[in-house]
Amino acid sequence: MTTSPAAGQTSGPADLHLRPTVEVRYWAGARAAAGVEVDTVAGSTVAEAIEAATALRPGLAPVLPACSFLVDGQRRDTAAPLVDGARVEVLPPFAGG
């Protein structure tokens, strides 16, 4: 069986280039743990985006399991799919009152 030179074959981690580029914005204690307000990462789901964010900001690791997420302003779980330019917001546990 011969291999034909398919598009995308040239770069090894081709799927990295296919993953949407998204913005991850940290709030309150998550911002303190990350040390920055916002990161740009690749991820096709919320889970992938926060995994990429944790690789950049190891301080987030203990904090993220307690957080909830917004995607473009709407509450979403970690399985939610992302499109290019999506904005993921990381919300630590609420502590009003």
Binding site: G29, P92, F94, A95, G96, G97
Partner: protein
């Protein structure tokens, strides 16, 4: 007439997230109604200790959608408690010990409905409105409340 008002959906009389000091008088005036004979008001104050440590100062911050979320919470609580008038105000920014961080109130024809609605309002607010609290302790430590 009171029987009629009991069957109506609850109403949101006041709902706000703000930096200015909170006023119990404002909240009580907002929920006041001639048909309501019972008013319950809850004050959440900055206390001088938490989790065994002395608290020195405290900062509340809110997500830009916090006001919208508080409005939703108030509407939902009002729907659950027919015949009530409810109000909720939450302060953000730097607060001193003893300052009111939140005031909720519920007025109803009778006390039982007012107690239930006020309790539901403060509990739901705390669980669902994206507001965060950063505490500084008298031993120099600081923490984001609720964060692992």
């Amino acid at each position: 007439m009171p029987e009629t008002s009991n069957a109506e959906p609850g109403r949101v009389a006041l709902c706000a997230v703000r930096e200015e000091a909170l006023s119990a008088d404002e909240v009580l005036a907002a929920v006041a109604d001639p048909a309501c004979g019972g008013v319950v008001i809850f004050h959440g104050l900055v206390r001088n200790h938490d989790d065994g440590s002395g608290v020195e100062s405290l900062d509340y911050s809110a997500h830009p959608q916090a006001s919208t979320e508080l409005e939703r919470v108030c509407r939902e609580v009002a729907e659950r408690h027919t015949g009530t008038r409810i109000a909720a105000v939450h302060r953000v920014g730097a607060l001193a010990l003893g300052d009111a961080a939140v005031i909720t109130a519920a007025a109803a024809a009778h006390r039982g409905q007012a107690f239930e609605a006020c309790r539901d309002l403060i509990d739901t607010l705390k669980a669902q409105v994206p507001i965060w609290k950063h505490q500084r302790y008298d031993d120099g430590r600081d923490s984001w409340v609720g964060l692992p």
